[in-house]
Amino acid sequence: MRLACGTLLLATAALTLALGATRVGAQTGTVPSDLRAWFKAADKNGDGRLDGEEFRLAVIEGFYFRDKERKGYLTPDQLPEASQDAFNAADVKHDGRLTLEEELNALLKDFEAADVDKDGTLTYEELEAYVKRPSR
């Protein structure tokens, strides 16, 4: 599953929507131009760090707006730039649907992985470094 995992390009689809423009190449390792602004918006208490709850709320809200038909899950066609293998890797129930729970579970592990100093929060620098991390 190594290859599948390394090619999960949900970012491309999302960034395309976010910018509403041409597909600007949100390839792995590319930092979205507004990542800092997003970080600031997610940082509700303004302390310069995203704690687990702030991160979780941002994830839920992102899922909500991505789920246009409000079905409570995302399907591969809603993430057209993501490979099927990659989607399947996140879809632990293997039902062809990515639920909020599945996404949250995956992303909270990401949160932990990105939190290099293990203080339970993400700084912007940690987030950016993690996003920049090249995949294989």
Binding site: A18, G20, I60
Partner: protein
């Protein structure tokens, strides 16, 4: 580096920009008593994609009203007329469907002089339903009255005030 970390990194990138899609929906949205619905402040190249991302790109039918429970209660609720209530409900529906947390949707009734805002403050799922906590301000006679509540989305697309 373990393989799991690699794909997680991609997922993190994804969620960052997915969340960004919601966040970038800035600008004050408003419901005027015309009865037009105006969406302002969405500028630049972001417009098409953001509206599509937030409002469903035509695929999401926005239900006509907020149902089940009083959107505006208390003294303020008693002082609102029918048109005020309709405008408030439209604003609420718009806020719940399209506004990122922290972004207010305003309504104004020029006839009564009453106005208000509805601001989602948190989004979550409960029993498979999307719910949004919100803050509401109703201004009557120049006096704002604040309240908080929670609305959950019903299968038919209408939002029910649950608290």
């Amino acid at each position: 580096m373990e393989p799991g970390i690699l794909w997680r990194g991609n997922v993190l990138r994804a969620i960052a920009v997915v969340a960004l899609a919601a966040w970038v929906l800035t600008g004050c949205e408003s419901v005027q008593g015309s009865p037009k619905t105006a969406i302002g402040g969405l500028g630049g190249a972001a417009v098409g994609g953001l509206i599509a991302a937030a409002a469903g790109g035509g695929g999401t039918a926005i239900a006509a009203s907020v149902i089940g429970g009083a959107l505006v209660g208390g003294l303020a609720g008693n002082l609102l007329d029918q048109r005020d209530r309709r405008l408030a409900n439209e604003a609420a529906q718009q806020a719940f469907e399209t506004a990122p947390s922290g972004k207010a949707v305003a309504w104004t009734n020029p006839d009564s002089g009453h106005s208000g805002t509805i601001t989602p403050v948190r989004t979550y799922q409960s029993n498979g339903r999307y719910c949004r906590e919100f803050q509401q301000t109703v201004t009557i006679g120049g006096r704002p009255e604040n309240s908080f509540g929670t609305a959950c989305r019903m299968p038919d697309g209408a939002w029910q005030i649950v608290s």
